[in-house]
C-alpha cells in the first residue's frame, strides 16, 4: 500500500510500485487535468509537483510518492499556481490548452525557487515543456507578469 496526498487529500493505493504517478492520477483518482503527452519525460505535459519539485509524472513511479505531497493543476490552494492561472487567462495563453497544465505546474516550481526570474531564467526553466500550438511568447509574458509581482 502506497500512501500520499494529492492537493491535500490523503490517498492510499494498492498497485504495482512501478506504476507511473501520471496513471495513478488519471486512471485511479480520476484527476485528468494532468496530461499524457509522450510517456518518456520528453514533453512536460504530465508535470506535477512532488513536494516543491516539478517532476515528469509519466516517468516517476508511484513508489517515489510514498509519504509525500503531490500538487496537480486541480489544486485550489497553491499560491503560485493560482497566480499563474490568472496570468495565463489575462495573457490569453492557451490555444488547444492540452500542454498548459504541465506548463503552469513547471512554472510554479520555478517561481517557488526563484520568485523573480528574468527572461533567460524563464526560458531555461521552461524549455523542456513542449507546446505544439507554439504559445511560447504568451507563456513567457504570463510568467513575467507573476515574476514582477
Amino acid at each position: 500500500m502506497i500512501q500520499f496526498t494529492v492537493n491535500d487529500k490523503a490517498y492510499s493505493v494498492d498497485v504495482a510500485e512501478d506504476t507511473p504517478i501520471l496513471w495513478i492520477l488519471r486512471e485511479h483518482l480520476n484527476l485528468t487535468g494532468t496530461k499524457f503527452g509522450c510517456g518518456a519525460a520528453q514533453c512536460g505535459a504530465c508535470t506535477v509537483l512532488l513536494g516543491n519539485e516539478a517532476i515528469r509524472s509519466c516517468s516517476t513511479p508511484i513508489s517515489e510518492a510514498n509519504g509525500k505531497h503531490i500538487t496537480t493543476i486541480e489544486t485550489t490552494k497553491d499560491k503560485e499556481v493560482k497566480a499563474l492561472q490568472y496570468a495565463w487567462v489575462a495573457e490569453d495563453v492557451a490555444q488547444c490548452g492540452y500542454c498548459q497544465p504541465g506548463q503552469i505546474m513547471n512554472a510554479a516550481s520555478l517561481l517557488k525557487k526563484n520568485p523573480h526570474p528574468n527572461e533567460a531564467q524563464i526560458i531555461d526553466a521552461m524549455r523542456g515543456n513542449i507546446c505544439r500550438c507554439g504559445t511560447y511568447n504568451r507563456i513567457k509574458s504570463a510568467i513575467a507578469i507573476v515574476a514582477k509581482g
Binding site: K35, F36, E74, W88, G97, R132, T135, N137, A144
Partner: protein
C-alpha cells in the same frame, strides 16, 4: 483579476502586439436585410428559463479559436452577455453541415471563413424572434423593444424581461425569412480584440477541459495497440498467453486492420502487456523501403518529362532569351504532426446503437465509419466531439485510421472502450506530410521582369484512394501539388510546371497549410534568387512583379515595421509573402547565425484576412504558426529505414521549444476583401522568410529541410 486590453499591453514585457492599421468596412458587412439561410436557428442556441444561453457549435475547437470567434458572431447579433454564454459541440446532424457541403468538417481553415455569416444570421434570427414574442406580450411594436445582455426592454414602460422568459414561445416560432444584421457601429464584439472566452480559458488553465483522452464512462475499459512498424506489413500470428495472465488484462484481440488490441482495466496495464505478446508479421518486401531510396526515385523524375500542371507562353524562348536564369532544387522530408494529445477515441457498441466520444475534425465521416462497420443506420450512432489537444490535420483523416482502430476494438464488447495510441504509435505509424523533391527555374530580363518559370513537384499523393480523390486527384496530379504554385501571384511571361505522384505504402495526410508547406518555400525561394540575380532589393523585386495590390500592401507593412531599407548589416533579413486559405501573410525574418547554428530572433508579420473578426486571435494564430513552423524549419524530419520510421518520440522527432521563440510583431490590414481563414496561413511564408534570411546572413541558399547549416 480582470485585466483590460490596455493593462494587458502595458504588462507584457515580451509582448507581440497587434495594431490595426486600417479598417475598411467590407461592403457585405454593412447593415442589411439578408435572406436567412438557417431554417432552424433554435438548433444552434438553447436558452433556458433561467436565461442560461448555450451555443451548439458545429466546428471543432483544436486551439485555433473557432469556438470563441464563432460564438462572438452569434453573441454579437443576439445581444447575449458575452461572459455568460456556454458552448457545447453540435451533434452530427445535417443541419449542422458546412454551408454547401454534405458534412461537418473542420479543415482548410474553414470555420470562420464558411460560417461567420451563418453564425451572425443565427444570432440575428433568434434576437428577432425574441423581439416578436416580447412585442406580442407587451402589445407594442417590436421596434420599441431594445435588447442588451440577454434582456429585452420595453422602451415605453422601461419594463424588462430576460430572454429566458420567452424561450418556450420562440421554440414554436418559425425563423424569419429575412434577417437584419447589425451595422458596424452597432457591433460590440466583431472586429474587437477579444480574448479566448473566459469559460474556455479558465477550464483550460484549471485542468477541467475535457479532451477526448479525458472521456470517462461507467464501466469503460482501455485498449493499447500493437501495430506493425513496417508500413504495409500484415499480421501473421500472435500468442497472448503470457499477456493474458498479467494484472488487469481482459482481452487480447486481432482487429480487422492487422493490428492487435489489448483491452485492460487501465490503459497503463494494457500498454505494459504489449511486450508480453509474441507477434509475427508478414513484412515481405515492404521491409526494404527507405526514404533514401524513395528520394533517389523522386529525384530521378526531376530529370524527366512529368505530368503537366501549368503550361502557358513560350517557356523555351523565355529561357533562351533570358538575361539571367536562376535554379534551385528543394528537399522536404516526411513530417509527423505530433499533436500534443495522443490519438484516441472512445466507442460503446450497444445492441442497436453506438456511442462515440473523441476529438475529431471530421465528425460526420467518423460517425459514418462507425455506422458502416457496425452495420447501423448512421442516425443510430451518437457522436460527441470533445476539445482537441491540437491536431494540425492529424485528427482530420479521410482514412480515419485511429478512429477505425477504436471502432474495431470496441466492436461486440460489453463495455465502452477507449483506444489510445502511444506517442511511439503517433510518430511511427505515419499519416505523414509527404516527402517531396522539387525543382524551380526562373528566367529574368535585364529590367527584372520574369520571363519564364519552370518547376517540378515530386511527391506521393495524399488524397488518392480517399473520399477526397474525386475532386482533389485529377489526371495523375494531386491538387496539393499545385496549390500556391500554379496560382502564384507574380507577373510571369511563361510557365512549364510539372508534377508526379509516385506510390508507396506509407500513409500520408495533410499537415497544417497542406501543399503550401512545399510550394510556399519553392515560390518564395526562387523569387528571392531572381531578385538577387536582377540586382534588386528582394522587397522591391516582389513589389515590381506582383499583380495583387493586397500583397504589395503587406510587403510595404513588413518593410516599414522591420525598418527594412536601413536594416542592420550584421544580421540576416529575409522576406516572404504567401496567400493560402483565403488570407495573405507576409513576414520579414531576422536571423542570427552563430558557428553552425542559427536563431530566428524576430518576425515582423503583416496579415490580410479580409476582416479580422477577432484581431487578438489573428495575432495568436500568427504566433502559433511561427513557432510551429520554426520547428519544421530547423528540426523535424521523419526518415524511413527497413520499412519503418527511424524516429519514435520527442527525443528523436524534434519540435520547437520556448528557446526557439522569436519576438513577434503583427500588423493586421483589414482590406475589406472576402474573409479568409487564419489557422494555417501563417505557416507557409515562415519557411522561405527564414531561408532567405539565412542567405542574407551567409551568402548560401538553403533549400533542404530541415535547414542545418553544417
Amino acid at each position: 483579476m480582470e485585466l483590460t486590453r490596455r493593462d494587458f499591453l502595458k504588462h507584457s514585457s515580451f509582448v507581440a502586439s497587434a495594431f490595426l492599421v486600417s479598417f475598411i468596412v467590407p461592403q457585405k458587412a454593412r447593415a442589411q436585410m439578408v435572406d436567412n439561410s438557417v431554417p432552424e436557428p433554435n438548433a444552434f442556441i438553447q436558452i433556458t428559463k433561467k436565461n442560461e444561453i448555450t451555443f451548439f457549435l458545429p466546428q471543432a475547437e483544436m486551439g485555433q479559436g473557432a469556438y470563441t470567434v464563432l460564438a462572438m458572431c452569434i453573441a454579437d447579433e443576439l445581444d447575449a452577455k458575452w461572459e455568460d454564454v456556454f458552448f457545447e459541440p453540435a451533434p452530427v446532424k445535417e443541419l449542422f453541415n458546412i454551408p454547401g457541403m454534405p458534412m461537418m468538417l473542420t479543415g482548410g481553415s474553414n470555420s470562420v471563413k464558411t460560417r461567420h455569416l451563418q453564425m451572425r444570421q443565427i444570432g440575428a434570427s433568434i434576437r428577432a424572434m425574441l423581439k416578436i414574442a416580447a412585442a406580442k406580450y407587451w402589445k407594442i411594436s417590436a421596434d420599441l423593444i431594445q435588447t442588451k445582455n440577454a434582456i429585452l426592454t420595453n422602451t415605453k414602460t422601461k419594463e424588462s424581461l430576460p430572454y429566458g422568459f420567452f424561450t418556450d414561445v420562440i421554440k414554436l416560432m418559425k425563423a424569419p425569412e429575412k434577417v437584419t444584421l447589425k451595422e458596424n457601429s452597432e457591433l460590440t464584439l466583431i472586429g474587437k480584440p477579444t480574448k479566448r472566452h473566459p469559460k474556455e480559458a479558465w477550464a483550460k488553465v484549471m485542468g477541467h477541459t475535457q479532451f477526448g483522452i479525458d472521456v470517462r464512462l461507467p464501466h469503460m475499459k482501455y485498449a493499447a495497440l500493437i501495430q506493425p512498424r513496417v508500413f504495409g506489413a500484415t499480421l501473421k500470428s500472435f500468442d497472448a498467453t503470457v499477456a493474458l495472465k498479467k494484472p488487469g488484462i481482459l482481452k487480447v484481440k486481432q482487429l480487422a486492420n492487422h493490428k492487435i488490441a489489448i483491452i485492460a482495466e487501465k490503459w497503463w496495464q494494457a500498454k505494459e502487456a504489449i511486450n508480453d505478446v509474441v507477434v509475427e508479421w508478414n513484412e515481405r518486401d515492404f521491409a526494404k523501403i527507405s526514404s533514401k531510396d524513395l528520394a533517389k526515385e523522386y529525384e530521378s523524375y526531376l530529370d524527366k518529362e512529368c505530368l503537366p500542371m501549368r503550361k502557358d507562353g513560350n517557356v523555351e524562348e523565355a529561357f533562351a532569351n533570358a538575361h539571367k536564369v536562376v535554379k534551385a532544387t528543394f528537399k522536404f522530408p516526411f513530417l509527423a504532426h505530433a499533436a500534443m494529445e495522443p490519438l484516441n477515441c472512445t466507442v460503446h457498441h450497444q445492441k442497436d446503437s453506438a456511442f462515440m466520444s473523441m476529438g475529431g475534425q471530421f465528425q460526420t465521416l467518423y460517425r459514418n465509419k462507425c455506422a458502416e462497420i457496425y452495420q447501423l443506420p448512421p442516425e443510430k450512432v451518437q457522436y460527441y466531439n470533445n476539445y482537441l489537444g491540437s491536431s494540425f490535420g492529424r485528427r482530420g483523416t479521410p482514412s480515419a485510421d485511429f478512429v477505425i482502430d477504436s471502432i474495431y476494438a470496441a466492436q461486440n464488447e460489453a463495455w465502452p472502450v477507449m483506444t489510445l495510441w502511444s506517442r511511439e504509435d503517433d510518430i511511427k505509424m505515419g499519416s505523414y506530410r509527404p516527402m517531396y523533391r522539387n525543382s524551380a527555374e526562373m528566367a529574368i530580363d535585364k529590367e527584372g521582369n520574369i520571363l519564364g518559370f519552370k518547376a517540378k513537384v515530386i511527391g506521393q499523393s495524399m488524397t488518392k484512394g480517399t473520399i477526397f480523390e474525386s475532386f482533389m486527384f485529377k489526371e495523375g496530379i494531386d491538387a496539393t501539388h499545385k496549390e500556391g504554385l500554379t496560382d502564384h501571384q507574380y507577373k510571369v511571361g511563361s510557365h512549364d510546371i510539372q508534377g508526379f505522384c509516385p506510390d508507396s505504402p506509407i500513409p500520408l495526410l495533410w499537415l497544417r497549410s497542406v501543399g503550401h508547406t512545399q510550394t510556399g518555400p519553392l515560390v518564395e525561394g526562387i523569387i528571392d534568387q531572381a531578385a538577387v540575380a536582377a540586382n534588386m532589393d528582394p522587397i522591391d523585386f516582389r513589389i515590381k512583379n506582383l499583380q495583387n495590390p493586397r500583397f504589395v500592401e503587406l510587403l510595404k507593412s513588413v518593410a516599414k515595421q522591420s525598418n527594412w531599407y536601413k536594416r542592420e548589416k550584421n544580421s540576416g533579413y529575409g522576406v516572404a509573402v504567401v496567400e493560402s486559405f483565403g488570407s495573405i501573410v507576409a513576414y520579414v525574418a531576422k536571423v542570427k547565425v552563430e558557428n553552425s547554428d542559427y536563431k530566428v530572433e524576430k518576425i515582423w508579420a503583416a496579415v490580410d484576412c479580409g476582416l479580422a473578426i477577432n484581431p487578438l486571435n489573428v495575432e495568436n494564430q500568427i504566433i502559433s504558426a511561427v513557432n510551429f513552423s520554426i520547428g519544421i524549419t530547423k528540426y523535424s524530419e521523419i526518415t524511413i529505414k527497413n520499412g519503418e520510421a527511424e524516429q519514435s518520440n520527442f527525443y528523436d522527432y524534434t519540435v520547437s521549444t520556448i528557446a526557439d521563440t522569436p519576438e513577434i510583431h503583427v500588423e493586421i490590414i483589414n482590406s475589406g476583401e472576402k474573409i479568409g481563414g487564419m489557422g494555417e496561413p501563417g505557416v507557409p511564408p515562415l519557411f522561405p522568410a527564414v531561408a532567405n534570411a539565412l542567405f542574407d546572413a551567409t551568402g548560401k541558399r538553403y533549400t533542404s529541410y530541415p535547414i542545418r547549416l553544417s
